[in-house]
Symmetry: C2
Subunit: 343 residues, 2 copies
DNA sequence: CTGAAAGCGCTTACAG
DNA sequence: CTGAAAGCGCTTACAG
């Protein structure tokens, strides 16, 4: 049983006193052993053990202006974060990369506005040396505050901010463009789109890819934005699309979950996938192979995304400039049953 | 008007100078607005904006001796952590509870010995006000170093350490005991056990529950410890159990993954579950309903575990003593096909 | 190789 | 209500 403030922690002064030496020498020994005599070193070692000394990281950080810690900030509810294998793979890869360089990754999940404020204060207050920002919304106050600060930050999916932020991201636009073309090339002509929720950069970019691929054939009456990245939202969106009465023979959904929901709605309407309507998703999440028909989708490389974010941060913290460039990680299309030829 | 030197961060002194007031008053204003005059307050506000001031958390922490951050330390590979819904639910619940009290949870995943050392240095160095320790091994150097330090820590599944640590945990022993009795009460008499990997507290406790429930009927020849918490390890363990030649009509596996592996091995041997051999797991993970037959298992309440860890930490940081008690969260048994009566 | 001193950016009694 | 001063625990030129 311990009490909140038990006995005082030993400081470098305690060690110095017990070792019969100045605290400056103790500090020198703790950092670069080089310039300390053998005798002093031994006395210090013994003193450290005897007073049970452990250096205060806060004091050290205050003078060195560095914490050797980097925040990995997830702007998403835990349930979604833990269920999203792409996000967790990014986190895992970043953790490994930072760790290998001796940096500590601190994973932070923002679930409320108060948490958002608190985290901004922490980060721009220098609690960490840098921040990796994930799942930010367009116009996100967290991303914006950090972007305006002096602490280095890199984001996955660059949000639309007044001030830019370097980013690393899967090729959202390109993936969406490619999978839309796949559908068109298979002879489908009435392509509908279920876009992701408007405030998300990934949703915006994927929408852009769809519009781009459709070119002159783009028809706003066949596009709808889902309320969130969920199966239910996909069902609701597809239902409304069908109710509009426009003929549809293909659907480009901005995520696998949305696609899964769309397929439910299509089946509920008495239609068949892919015979009547082909459907494609995005993410290659577990949904893609769990549902029937299995889903043609875009597979990301989240490990590469997380790794590159961490590598760029390490390079910057190592002294290199951090350019505001949007690095794009290629993705691949995985064809499955949901776009099989009608035969 | 902008910052004189854009490279240097503004400090409380810059604000004071611009506001024409002492830095002590600025600090007072920043903390408890009460004792600052209206005129000063306005001058300070303007100065803060003009120099773009944000308080340095490290400096503040050094004097207040508090960071208002708590580490949630996971001693497990990311892949396992993110795949384990019990662990992530614990983290999510702890995050919510800490967040509601204004504390920031920092999730840290230890994947190497160097990371382990680094995190110990950080934590006992006062980088956080407290630590929640999860998935520690018995005799874990991380848990031990933190237990010996002055910083408050609570663990899920108390490891066997020379010095105690308060803990909150699902009822491992009780759950194992109850599900073993369920099997015995259904008329099975030759009960084998696939225990978890030896160095884990949860494995030890579940094993204890099994031994306890078997009493005089406990037969070491029917017990084996899996090499890790994986399906493959379960298959290997079950295969060896069958090769020993002892008759078996029931298996108590220490986790659902282990049970899933055991069922594979049983089927491979040409036997049937539950007709020939009943099988039970632990965790009520997604495995439990994904495999055939569906699994009778112990359902934990990971949300309650995470919440209680956080609540006890908050109470302690709020001034209460932190007793070294092992708090046990009840769990329930979920019966499914794998123990259906042979009929 | 080592000590005295300054300083990192804040908070907080202590006077006034 | 406010300023001067001390101090949180460390690191790091600067002399010697």
């Amino acid at each position: 049983m311990t009490t909140p403030n038990p006995k005082r922690r030993a400081t470098v002064h305690d060690v110095a006193r017990v070792a019969g030496i100045s605290h400056a020498t103790v500090s020198r020994y703790l950092n670069k052993r080089a310039y300390v005599s053998q005798a002093s070193a031994e006395a210090i070692e013994a003193a450290i053990r005897s007073v049970n000394y452990t250096p205060n990281r806060t004091a050290r950080s205050l003078v060195t202006q560095s914490t050797r810690a980097v925040a990995f900030v997830v702007r998403e509810y835990s349930e979604f974060f833990f269920a999203d294998s792409n996000l967790s793979a990014m986190a895992a890869a970043a953790n490994k990369t930072l760790s290998a360089e001796g940096y500590q990754m601190l994973l932070v999940i923002i679930e409320s506005d108060e948490a958002a404020e608190r985290i901004v204060d922490l980060i721009i207050g220098g609690f960490v040396d840098g921040a990796l920002l994930v799942a930010m919304r367009d116009d996100d106050p967290v991303a914006e505050a950090i972007a305006r600060s002096t602490i280095p930050a890199i984001t996955a999916s660059a949000p639309e901010l007044p001030v830019g932020l370097p980013s690393v991201d899967t090729d959202n636009a390109g993936g969406s463009r490619a999978i839309t073309r796949l559908l068109a090339d298979s002879g489908r002509t009435r392509l509908a789109e279920i876009a992701g929720p408007a405030p998300m950069p990934a949703a915006r970019l994927r929408h852009g890819g769809f519009v781009d691929a459709r070119g002159a054939a783009y028809d706003p009456r066949l596009s709808i934005a889902a309320a969130e990245w969920s199966v239910e939202a996909g069902t609701a969106a597809m239902r409304e699309l069908l109710e509009r009465g426009e003929p549809i023979d293909g659907v480009v959904a901005a995520s696998d979950a949305l696609a899964a929901g769309a397929i439910d709605a299509i089946h509920a309407a008495g239609l068949t996938v892919p015979a009547d309507i082909a459907v494609v998703g995005f993410d290659d999440s577990p949904w893609a192979t769990r549902i029937r028909p299995t889903l043609t989708t875009v597979r990301q490389d989240p490990g590469a995304t997380g790794r590159r974010m961490a590598e760029r941060m390490m390079a910057h913290l190592g002294g290199e400039a951090l350019d505001d460039v949007a690095e794009v990680i290629p993705n691949v299309i995985v064809e499955r049953e949901s776009t099989a030829p009608s035969s």
